[in-house]
Symmetry: C2
Subunit: 228 residues, 2 copies
């Protein structure tokens, strides 16, 4: 995986940036350090001025790459979901059994991101924390419908629909495949959050994983026996 991924460029909607941050050294530093800064101080406290300082550059230079910090967040989360989509497609590619495939997909989508990471300047472990803590804020806005029309959430939607298809391959008569798929994706982020901050609201811990919980759920809801 390591080698393969380092060759591949994760693509996100090009309306999310003014200038492709992957195209320059400054751009890559913006991405790299925005991830670290947002993780450290939270999205609300994060500003382009602070980021400019952090990378020994300038606020105005950051504004040449991204219109505002909201677009930057959309860029980062889109990148994350595109990366997950790549993993999903790759790791389920040769599985023929629909149930085994679905279970593999769920494991890929709900597992904790580990730090054997992969792509040069992006720390995927830190980015995954940002997704847990900030992803909701990217769509819980008054602009969501307009931005959705522009395709800003397309990668994430594609992922949900891929999972939905795998659910239907296993049980074509299951009545809520989209809802179940979206619950798994959003719900696993939520369970990771609860584990860190509201541990009394989840069984998830160091030993019990969101994957275990959701796998159990899906096996029962789709009336399967474990064959992963």
């Amino acid at each position: 995986m390591k080698h393969l991924l380092s060759q591949i460029k994760i693509e996100v909607n090009d309306k999310l940036y003014l200038k492709d941050p992957e195209s320059t050294d400054l751009g890559r530093r913006i991405i790299q350090h925005s991830i670290l800064l947002i993780d450290r101080m939270g999205f609300e406290q994060f500003t382009f001025k602070k980021l400019g300082k952090e990378i020994n550059s300038n606020e105005s230079s950051v504004y040449r790459y991204f219109e505002n910090k909201h677009k930057l967040l959309l860029y980062l989360t889109s990148w994350y979901w595109a990366w997950k989509e790549y993993q999903l497609v790759f790791s389920t590619a040769n599985i023929v059994d629909a149930s085994a495939k679905l279970q593999k997909a769920m494991q890929v989508l709900t597992r904790q991101v580990e730090k054997d990471a992969v792509i040069s300047h992006i720390d995927e472990v830190v980015l995954s924390r940002i997704v847990v803590n900030e992803f909701s804020k990217s769509y819980l806005t008054k602009e969501v419908d307009r931005e959705n029309k522009e395709g800003f959430f397309a990668v994430h939607h594609r992922l949900v629909l891929r999972l939905r298809e795998m659910i239907l391959e296993v049980r074509s008569d299951y009545p809520y495949p989209s809802s179940l798929a979206s619950t798994i994706l959003e719900g696993s982020l939520h369970q990771f959050f609860l584990k860190e901050h509201f541990p009394s609201l989840t069984e998830c811990s160091e030993t019990i994983l969101p994957s275990d919980y959701f796998t159990h759920m899906v096996l029962n809801v789709l009336n399967l026996k474990n064959n992963g």
Copy 2:
């Protein structure tokens, strides 16, 4: 319900306000119109200055009731969850069968709020939209652990734990009662959001309700047959 509720004062953590907004006419106008304004313009665009203008009062007067808009949001969402808790306790009080009780609880917690509403100055339908769109923002912050220690999320936690207990009454050996309870509460907000903004990611619609989806899920996960 109407009559009963109008007698009862919903109580929230008193550290959330500087002066009890239920104690004065101005306070009640602040609550009433903050709900309408946040719904209209979204939490990010909402300010105390705009609210002051809206109620023919002043920014500085609003600040005498609430430290900042984050505390106001915590107040509003706590109020909502306390109201839901009241409904939950009331409507499950005399049900003896554990399974029927759980199903009733789920229905109360995941149903759409209807406009036969109840408490004088608070529009519960609009407030429920705010909860769908803004509740996550109240805890996805860097201050969450400190605020949790202060009990700012206590009402919501209590609700999750009540649901958890009902799940365990039905299936004491179900391994993920807290996670399932938190998934139902958070997940139903999410399904309402998807229905409005990302309809391709959910089956929920005018005819299919989040209640239907989650009821089906819980019946299967807990291996029950429908007896609600």
